[in-house]
Structures are given as C-alpha cells and as structure tokens.
Symmetry: C2
Subunit: 418 residues, 2 copies
C-alpha cells in the first residue's frame, strides 16, 4: 500500500529550493506504485504541527516544471527550530500524530543545519514510538556551511550572483574613480562561514583584473592592516572594491555590526558591516565610497542562477525520494565531487548524526596569506559551482514565476497550539 | 578633408553607455570618407581639458562589439561640471585649443543634463571664436529625467533590474513572512525624479500579485498614511514590499536621508532612505524588516539589461555621428515614441537650448491617487522600455567584459591645470 510523503522547506529560502521541491514531486509521481501523495507543509514544519498540509497532487506537470524557475519557497518556509526531544517532546509527538493521521511514510525535510537536527530527532522519536517513518534530509543553504556534503544547493547561485554583481560594479567604479567614488563596498550574507564572501573573489580573473579585497568572517578584522591595503590599491589603481561578510568580526571576536536584534533561532540579526567598513575608509583615508547591500536580492536572484546549482538542487530532491524508497533513514542526501576539471559530481548519503550541529567554515588553505583574498585552491573548489546559465522564461521583460494553487488537505485532528 | 570626432562620457555610467560608444565608433568607421579618427576623452571632459585623448582607431572590430556587452564607461567618465561661459571661459577656450590641435570637427558628448549644458556652451563658444565644430549631445542617464526625449538610454536596463529584483525578492519574503521578515524595502536611485522607483511597480502584475508600496520623490512622505498602508497590507497578505527612492522627501521638503555630503556637481549625496523607512515600520508597527540597497549594482547590471534599452543606446550613438555629419549643431539626439503597443520608436533631434537645465519628473497622471503606486498610464509608458533580453557572453559562469587598449594620442600642447 503506497504511503504519502511529507515535504517541508526550512529556514531562509534560495533561488533554487523550489527545484528540489520539483525533484521530490516529479520523482514521487514517477513512483506511484510505492508513493501516494506528496503533501507539503504550509510554512514548513509549522504546517505539520498545525496540520496545515498542502496537497500537491492536483498540480499540473507544467506547474511543477514552473517551480524550477521560481525563487522563494513555494509552500512557505519557516524559521522555527524545534528544540531537544526532552524540551519539545509534545511538538515531536504532535508531528508523529499528524503523520499517522495522513499516512505519511516518508519525511523529506529541505533545509540547513537546524532542519538536519530536527530531521534526526523526528527519526529517533518515530523509532522510539514504533511509527514506521523514513526521514531524509535534503540539503539547502546559501551559506554552504553544511557538513557532510561537498557543497549545498542554493550556494552556487548566490556565488554566481555576487561574483557577477561585483564584476559589473567594478567596471562602473573604475570609470568613475577619478572624480567620484573610489571605494565600492558590497556586503554579502554568510553569518559565520565566509563562502559567499569568498565567491565574490571570482569576480576577478586574468581577463578581468580588479583591485579587490575580501573581508571574511573567518578572519578577524584588523583595522590598520585593512586601511593600509585599501590605501595601497587606491594609490595603484585609482579605486578599490571590497566584499564584506555581514558576519565580519572585530578584534574582540564580536560581530562588527551587532544590532542587538535576534531572529527566532536565537541568531543575532546582522546588517551594516558594509556601511561601517565603507565609512571607515572615508573617515580614515578621506575616500569617497558607495556601498551596496544585496540582502535578499542575492538569494532570490533566480534570473542569474547557476545551472550547476539548479541541477544539483533538483537532483538532491529526486535522490531524497529514492533514498526514502530504499529505506535510507536519518540520512542527508550529499553531493560528492569526483573531479574538479571537468567538474564531475555524484550523490551519496551522510548519516544525519554527522551533519546536525556542525558548521563548515572556509578552510585556511582557501584564504590568501594576507587574509584579504582567496587562493587558487579556493577557486578550484568554487569555480564549477557557478558554471552554466539557466534563465527562467521571460514575459513582457520580466521573469515569469509560478504560484501553485496550494490546495489544503482536510484536517483530521484537533487543533494544536504551539 | 575628413576631420576627427571627439567623444566623451559624462556623469554616472550605465549598463549600456558603452553601446552608445560602439554606435559612435562603428558609424564613424563606416564613414571614413568624411570622418578621420574617433578620439575619446580619458575620464570624460577632463580628458579634453588635459589633452588626454584616447585613439580608438587601433581597436579591433571585435573589441568594439565587446563594448556593447560591457557596463561602466570604457574610457572613464567624470562628474565634473563646467560652469558658465563667463566663469569658466578659460576652460572652454582650452577645449577649443585642444580640438583645434587635433583637428576635431565633431564633438559628441554622451551624458545627462549637465553635459547637455556643457555641449551647448561649447557650441556657442566655437561659433563665437569662429572655430568650425558640430556639437551633438547623446543622451544617457539612468534617471530618465532629460527633457526633449521620450526616454533616456540607461534607464530601461535599470528599470528591468529593479523590477526583476523586487519580483524575485517578493517571492522570497512571501515564503518567510510568517516567522521572519514581513517588510522588505528596496532603495533605488533617482535623486529628484522617481522614474526608477516607478519602474519597481512593474514587479507586480496580474500573474504576480505583490503587496507593494512605492515611495516616489515626487510625493512628499506622509508618515501616518504610509504606516497605515503598510499595516493594512501586512494584515491582508502577511507581508509588504516597499520600493523607496533615495531622494524621498519629508514633509519639510528636505531629503529624508540628507547625509550632508555633496558630490562635485554640488548635489547632495544621499543614502539611507530605505533603512530609515524600514526602521520606521519596525519601531512603529513592530514588524521585522529586511532592506536592500542596490546602489551601483542597479546601474551596472549588464547581465539583465533591456534589449530595447541596449538597441536605443546603440542607435543614439550612431545617430549622433549621422547628425554631426548632417551639420546638426547644438542638438541632442532624441527618442520619439510613435506607438505604445506594439512599441515603435524613431530618432529625432532636439535643440540643446530646450534640454539643458531642465528636469523631467514623473507626471502626476503616472502616480496612483494614493501616491503609493503607479497608474495604467505609467505602465503603458514603462513597459516597452524593459522588454527583451540581451545577455552578455558568459565564460566560466560569469559575464565576459571587454577592456580596450585605450592607447593615448600624443600631446601637442603645453600642460593645462584645472
């Protein structure tokens, strides 16, 4: 008797997370003998807790293809972290109740670190309660900081966006430097791990030399050395471009831009590192600056998504279903690199116990000795992830995105309040 | 005897100003019987004053085609405004001296309002001094605020970028609103005229409904009405997107974000309107916000340029040469719209006296009655300008841009200091 899939998106969305959803749905549809319907959580895991489930089975095949062109999270995502089994046991039991009521045999959770942890705990409780459930984590995070996979779907497209944007802006600044701006700062995401900042370094290559400094969160900010580096580049080239992580840390180890706000995961809400850095070059070096803050634009820029990233996002969704059908429980689908050039990759599985609660930082060997740039090794790693274009269809000059009908599954249980 | 062209770029550069340069150079090359070489000013008009001229004649045809893919200003631009003929007479006379020394018969100045004014004054002085010179202004400005033309090359591409970015971000925010961000603010350029802000409105259409508010510089900011509008949209849709002009003005008529800085044209340097507005929604309505500041990214985003804009940028460069050959002096090449749908346009000329010193604002009929959006009439005007894609060539995942050799013309005159 085929059982149903519950699929949910977690945390910050990406330009390609919906491609993972498409991979899940299309693969489930291709396995109708063993899988019933794909239910998606409305607003992620909250949808499961509230028994607010979306039935994807009525969506046309063309709408599912449309998902691969559409940024954001098609069913809603959530920044909501389930705590430990002891502390949040009622929530976990409610999840199992909902799964049981809707005959969910497969839990596919699409997210980053926090959702990997939740996925593992749900698998543990299901086993403890004797409820037959296969839990598979589908990786997603623009931050590229998940352990146990060579890269994370979502990252390659942000990397392509920030490198493209910095290259374009550098051509602008270069032409204006004499009478106007000589310092251009681009602040990018990446709270703890500097993968996105590192990707800004790809803007520069032998054909496109750019005086570029990177400020990664892995390298403590050293103001005098930074200012000396800016002054040197401006003297030599007339201008200087700077890629700054939102999570840049000062000498005391604290975020340079700590705003005092926290999100519901308890993470500090950052913003302003770019402006701070830019103002420093003005105040200390007397340079005129401009500062861009890409913010959500960088993670939703489906129009400049990496084809490699898009393909991997789809593939991990597809592999999630196949892994679940194969009875792989409490694993994350992982991307394994088998060759750098030409780039080759395959998929595997990593036990969730080796994923949850870890964070993969940019290794020291990827960071230039002076701390302000990336090494050849970093380029070898990053380069394949941004390759290939996969523009969405355009209509009347703008990308055309898909909104699903998101028809709800009738509730069977009593209401539950968080 | 063929005479030479002097071409210069002025003010803020755009994603397509180099297409105008390509139009100038290719058209001049096609008219070798009447035009000698195309010299470009290194860093715009400063290059003429300093006799720092670039000889484009050695550049390969493929490099000139490459210009049409390359953002920024290929020869350098300048924010340097020549004042009145009385005040800056020595500078104007120096220009004529340099033109005479290099047998410049055609002055093609590619810029906005300020350069239109300079172009007119150079034409006046040349006539006064009996120096045979044909002066043609080639329009360029992302702000779309030039009088005497239906639209300005450079604007359509920014419009496409901001509308695309807002649509993409809206899909992101919509999926996160329940547990995270419910207000997303995008600050865009446009110091006095709100054309770019208006273009953000294109993000929303019947197929992509978005709860969207626009804050144009033409409409005085009314805090209570704004907050009520935000609260209403968030209540109805769970989130709200806001496009804000950097030049938003408060009830007192002053810039909301006046930073006290001025550029060398004497214009106030702005920045921060978006952040101010966003913080207001947090402080007064208790909403969680994110704010993006596209800054230079919006005007250098060649990867998402409008094909219409690119074609017009090339065409005005080409027409500038043809107008000069036809002896049209002290005119600006202008774009004339002959039909909205299907869009048709042609080129004409406008006397510079009717361009210089004017600024074209967004008309009241383009602004929704409540002030927070655009009308159908605005859409009819804006829509054709963003149509068509014209991506640059990509290599290794990134757009490939051209840098010219920029070989200098040997100096013939004594040095001149500004």
């Amino acid at each position: 008797m085929p059982r149903n899939v519950f699929y949910a998106q977690s945390g910050g969305v990406t330009a390609v997370i919906n491609a993972s959803a498409a991979g899940v749905i299309e693969t489930a549809r291709a396995n109708r003998a063993r899988i019933g319907r794909v239910y998606a959580g409305h607003d992620g895991i909250l949808g499961a807790l509230a028994e607010d489930l979306i039935d994807t089975s009525g969506e046309r095949a063309s709408a599912i293809v449309g998902l691969t062109h559409t940024p954001g999270g098609a069913f809603g995502s959530a920044r909501y972290k389930l705590k430990g089994l002891a502390e949040h046991r009622a929530h976990y039991e409610r999840l199992i109740d909902v799964f049981r009521a809707h005959d969910i045999g497969y839990f596919l959770y699409n997210g980053g670190n926090d959702s990997a942890d939740t996925c593992l705990k749900v698998a543990q409780l299901a086993r403890e309660l004797g409820y037959p459930l296969t839990c598979v984590h589908i990786p997603k995070t623009i931050d590229n900081d998940l352990a146990g996979t060579d890269c994370c779907p979502g990252f390659g497209s942000v990397a392509k966006y920030v490198a493209t944007s910095m290259r374009e802006a550098a051509f602008d600044v270069a032409s204006m430097a004499r009478t106007s701006t000589s310092v251009f700062v681009l602040e990018v995401m990446g709270r703890h791990a500097g993968w996105i900042t590192a990707a800004v370094g790809l803007a520069e290559d032998e054909e496109h030399p750019i005086p570029l400094l990177l400020l990664l969160p892995e390298v403590r900010f050293d103001e005098p050395r930074f200012l000396a580096a800016v002054a040197r580049l401006v003297k030599m080239h007339g201008y200087c471009c700077i890629g700054v992580s939102e999570g840049l840390r000062g000498a005391d180890g604290g975020f340079l831009s700590e705003s005092g706000l926290h999100d519901s995961f308890g993470h500090a809400q950052l913003g302003g590192a770019g402006e701070l850095i830019a103002k420093l070059t003005r105040d200390r070096l007397g340079l005129k600056y401009h500062c861009a803050l890409a913010d959500y634009l960088q993670r939703s820029a489906r129009h400049i998504a990496s084809r490699t990233d898009l393909e991997q996002a789809y593939a991990v969704g597809r592999a999630g279903v196949l892994a679940a059908l194969a009875g792989q429980n409490a694993v994350m689908v992982s991307i394994v690199r088998t060759a750098d050039q030409p780039y080759r990759w395959t998929l595997s599985h990593t036990p969730l116990a080796r994923v949850a609660g870890r964070e993969r930082m940019v290794p020291r060997s990827f960071i230039r000795r002076d701390g302000f740039g990336i090494t050849a090794r970093a380029r070898t790693y990053l380069q394949p992830l941004i390759e290939g274009e996969a523009p969405p269809p355009f209509r009347r000059g703008l990308p055309r995105f898909t909104r699903l009908a998101n028809r709800r599954v009738p509730r069977k249980l009593a209401a539950y309040s968080l």
